[in-house]
């Protein structure tokens, strides 16, 4: 049973990891906690749902289209809600982020209503039995997609010119701009990629749990944030690790302690890690530039 619970946790954790990446990338670049990220995840799920059910787009294509649409939304939010506040206090930007989150959630409520929508299943339900655990085809697909996306992101950041520029901006904005890097462009790209990953998670969770609602982004958004902090906010491998760790802890906690304390276990883990290592698991202490 323990191995089965580990597998359950791994699947849940990989969806958290994708959300956490969006938080951590944005934080790494502009030191803003993008609270609207959970809503972008919700938007991605709705976009995928409508593409599949209304426009009859094939699943595979709908998945990537939803990511693209969410990227557009992410860039729009950045342009309207964060860019005008770039040079004001961090608190102002944070409040603006919360505002954007509330706005997007209510917009979804207004347009789509409060009822849950059902996501049709893209693959035939098939269960694979191994001696230690069972796993469905859908779960395998979710795992593979999540890991492929994470690998692609890592390669993008390590190997491409834009990735290099992103790292430079994260390190020192002013110096990067002196080196001829277009800061605004890099920030836009960061938001686009982060949002696309959030949407990927939203679509997969929508398919996995079969339902899409206007409020679905709230809790996963919070969990994604916890995962990002857990791994060390601003640190990309940390976010992946934090997400998976959180998923597994939650599942094990629900299985062996009590399912009612599932969320409590997640947040207790966060508090413990922050007490022992305030920068998160993989985070490095940041020197405040005075």
């Amino acid at each position: 049973m323990f191995i089965q619970q580990l597998v359950n946790g791994l699947i849940l954790g990989s969806t958290y990891a994708l959300i956490a990446l969006g938080y951590t990338m944005v934080y790494g670049i502009i030191e803003l906690i993008n609270f609207a990220h959970g809503e972008i995840y919700m938007f991605g799920a709705f976009a995928g749902l409508l593409l599949v059910t209304v426009l009859k787009v094939p699943f595979f294509l709908a998945f990537f289209l939803a990511m693209a649409l969410a990227a557009l939304l992410g860039m729009t939010v950045e342009f309207l809600a964060y860019r005008p506040l770039r040079h004001s206090t961090r608190l102002a930007a944070l409040i603006s982020a919360i505002g954007a989150s509330i706005f997007l959630q209510n917009l979804a409520l207004l347009i789509m209503g409060a009822q849950p929508y059902t996501f049709p299943s893209p693959v035939e339900a098939k269960v694979y039995q191994t001696p230690f655990f069972t796993i469905s085809r859908l779960e395998i697909i979710i795992l593979i997609f999540s890991f492929l996306l994470m690998i692609a992101l890592t390669l993008f950041i390590q190997r491409t010119k834009i990735g290099k520029a992103m790292r430079a901006v994260a390190q020192d904005k002013d110096t990067a701009s002196l080196m001829g890097i277009n800061i605004n462009q890099i920030i836009t790209v960061t938001f686009a990629i982060g949002s696309a990953l959030g949407a990927a998670s939203g679509v997969m969770v929508g398919i996995y749990f079969r339902t899409v609602t206007f409020s679905m982004g709230l809790m996963p958004g919070l969990k994604g944030f916890v995962a990002a902090v857990l791994g060390g906010i601003g640190n990309i491998p940390g976010a992946m690790m934090g997400g998976i760790l959180l998923g597994i802890t939650e599942t094990i906690g629900a299985a062996y302690i009590s399912s009612q304390y599932r969320d409590a276990v997640a947040f207790a883990l966060l508090i413990m890690v922050l007490l022992l290592k305030p920068t998160g698991l993989l985070g490095r202490p940041v020197q405040e530039k005075v």
Binding site: M1, Q4, Q5, N8, L12, Q115, P116, T118, S121, A125, V127, Q129, T134, S136, L138, E139, V205, F209, R210, T211, M219, T251, I252, A254, A255, S258, S259, Q260, R262
Partner: protein
Amino acid sequence: MTKRNKKMFMLVGVFMCLAMLLAIAGCDSKKPANGEEGTVVKIGTVGPLTGGAANYGINVQRGVEIAVEEANASGELGDITLELISEDTGGDWSAAANAFTKLIEIDGVDVIVGAVLSSETQAGGPIAMEAKIPTISPSSTAKDLTKGNPYLFRNCLSDEVQAAQLAEYAVKELGLKKFAIFYTNNDYGVSLKDAFEAKARELAEVVAVEVFMDGDESFKPQLTKIKESNPDSLYIAGYYTEAAKIAQQAKEMGLNVQLLGADGLCNVAYIDIGGEAVEGTYATSGFYPDDPTPAVQNFVTAYKNKYGEEPDMFAAQAYDAAWIVINAIKSKGPNPEQIREGIAATKDFPGITGKTSIDEEGDTIKDVIILKVEGGKFTRVR
């Protein structure tokens, strides 16, 4: 307290004293003997017509209205005409107490159908007993509500009864032996769980009891534990969204069990979300609108024509409660004491919510309707 507020406070206090005086004075005044003035029997309804629970109250009122209209139109009560007076509580028990007093003292009703929420009926019941006005609630499920009050009856399906009857059905008719129970952590889930577990332990074996929260998405940790205990059936004490996801995830995990549930599952969304995975589920229900029986279809059609939507369990139970009252008037007579006797004597009333009797405590004895999901639709099996 500022001076102005103090003044307001005093004023409100004075008004409250006046209101109380009036209420006491009202109690002393002798009511005219109802029913004897010939042809009009007044039926009051009490329930929330505004506020958060308004849906319940409005549907109850509509159900009663249709029954009253039918009875008046059919002429089966001879020269007696029924008149309906509805009072709004806003879901507040103190407003319910006022509504009972108003209906009895001012409108002079002969019988009350209500209240809707348990707290409302708890507040109004003693007032009705004092005034000797029979009252039948179509929906208040609180435990022991009708005990010690010979004027208070109810026609509804309690959580305990539906859970116990399903456990019995599962063992005796479906031949199930090893039950797992998965319940949502609120009063609905807990009372279903308690009753089902007690009955199932008495008749067979309960191998696992797990809990979830409303709004949960992933149920795999608990389902994994349930699977370990190897049950042959899973009783889901919760609402349709979570239940459908549980069914889905159980199937994904290769947990092949007979699914069982209560009226919280009886919504098309259960089948929409659950799809293939919920096929074959048995669930208890207070009312099933697609039941092909003529009585049910007549009610559903009349309701749809009048209000433009499908009646729910509340409307149906209210309709049955009103008909219990009408039958009481027909068999015993139109004054409150006669109506009380008539309601108390109700036996095997063929209502649209199942065959109904009233026991000596004024509580409902009902053959709970059992539905099965077959071919993507709920069908009635009992």
